[in-house]
């Protein structure tokens, strides 16, 4: 049995969703054109994950096993639609950036995965910590990937477009939109994800070797 702290921190490295669990790759590749897209998607997913974990864990002894997936999906879909409506109303620019990928959180396998593998078998406290941990890990991974792609692709970092919070790190000439357009295109997402996976495996291997020695 993990300690409560471990339940939270496992999501940040040991089981960080796109890299270790290798789940939720669709949104990971699609929305990380900018830093804003990355953290926005991450936080939206975290909200849904925490809420669905909370409710599924609370109802775990009531939900009949045979209809559990249907029940999980109803709960998850409810929070996704709530997220979508609230984002459309209060963070319209972010909602436009993420577009269809917000409603698609319903089918994000991280959320259903955590519901089935964790929340339906553990108490409320642990499920909440698990949701926050995995959610923040996902947010972190998407934000780093988004920042990397946006910086190399356009030379900018968009923090929050609605409040004009963006930084130009590498100034481009007049009328030039892209530094290295490949990075903000879909293939660039695969290359970046691969490079980050390589880096993470390298670090894990190094630390495992130094522990062994």
């Amino acid at each position: 049995m993990k300690t409560l702290t471990q339940e939270f921190t496992k999501g940040l490295w040991e089981q960080i969703p796109p890299f270790r669990l290798v789940l939720g790759l669709c949104p990971t590749l699609a929305v990380t054109k900018s830093l804003e897209g990355g953290w926005g998607m991450g936080l939206a997913t975290t909200f849904v994950l925490v809420c669905s974990n909370l409710f599924i864990s609370a109802l775990r002894n009531v939900i009949p096993p045979k209809v559990r997936i249907a029940t999980f999906i109803v709960i998850i879909a409810t929070f996704v639609v709530i997220t979508e409506l609230v984002m459309k109303a209060y963070t319209p620019m972010l909602s436009e950036t993420l577009g269809v990928f917000i409603p698609l959180i319903v089918v994000n396998c991280i959320i259903l995965g955590r519901a089935e593998a964790f929340a339906s078998k553990n108490g409320i406290g642990r499920s909440l910590l698990d949701g926050f941990g995995i959610g923040f890990g996902f947010t972190l991974a998407l934000a780093v990937l988004g920042a990397l792609r946006e910086l190399l692709g356009t030379g900018k970092l968009t923090m929050f477009a609605q409040a004009n919070l963006d930084l130009t790190i590498i100034p481009l000439g007049e009328g030039r939109e892209f530094l290295f357009k490949f990075m903000v295109d879909p293939p660039g997402a695969f290359v970046c994800l691969g490079a980050m996976l390589l880096l993470m495996n390298l670090i894990s291997e190094r630390s495992a070797r130094s522990k062994a020695a």
Binding site: V62, I63, A77, T78, V86, P92
Partner: protein, 201 residues
């Protein structure tokens, strides 16, 4: 008991009912905010620009009318909003929101008309999900493709150059350009058809 059919139905029913209640509540709260935001942030600035210097006697946002366009292929109700600007009791300008399917989804366009001389005052992309750097250029008001509509006479219709018309596409983004133009064409048709009856209201 948990494996009884009636129990499954009851649990699933209660969960779905509560979910529906929660969603209805959130939708009720957010819909006015979303509608107000679209009117204020997207439509009002464009209309102010298109109708600049006309000294209209009414507030065309305040006096907007919803047009019923019948049902689409899937039986969903289609509506659009018509904005009329009046002068001396007569409608002189109009603006209309239309959409057409582009490369990555619907492109929503606001088209403004000057009714007396049958000219397009301007066009504005309200929403789109086209390819960055290609079709997404329809969002840029300074784009020559968008600029060419300004002052265009629509009495003989609007059509793509490839169909013998006057509209030049964005090179490399034909699908997006055709969709955008289709939305404008739809707006010209609707304005011709509806403006007289709407002005009488």
């Amino acid at each position: 008991m948990r494996n009884k059919i009636w129990f499954m139905a009851v649990v699933l029913g209660i969960v779905a009912f509560l979910a529906g209640l929660a969603l209805a509540g959130v939708k009720g709260m957010t819909t006015p905010v979303i509608e107000k935001r679209i009117l204020e942030k997207k439509i009002k600035p464009s209309l102010d620009k298109f109708f600049d210097g006309l000294d209209l006697e009414n507030d065309c946002i305040e006096d907007r009318q919803v047009l019923d366009l019948g049902k689409d292929a899937r039986g969903r109700k289609q509506v659009t909003t018509l904005f009329l600007g009046k002068k001396g009791g007569k409608a002189v300008v109009a603006a209309l929101q239309t959409k057409a399917a582009g490369f990555g989804g619907d492109i929503e366009v606001l088209t403004a008309f000057s009714l007396d001389d049958k000219k397009i005052l301007g066009v504005k992309t309200l929403s789109q999900s086209e390819t960055m750097g290609l079709g997404a250029r329809v969002s840029n008001d300074a784009e020559p493709f968008i600029q060419q509509f300004q002052g265009m006479n629509y009495s003989d219709g609007v059509e793509m150059r490839s169909n013998g018309g006057q509209v030049d596409a964005i090179s490399g983004a034909t699908v997006s350009s055709v969709a955008f133009t289709a939305a404008v064409i739809r707006a010209t048709e609707l304005v011709e058809k509806n403006v007289d009856s709407a002005a009488a209201n």
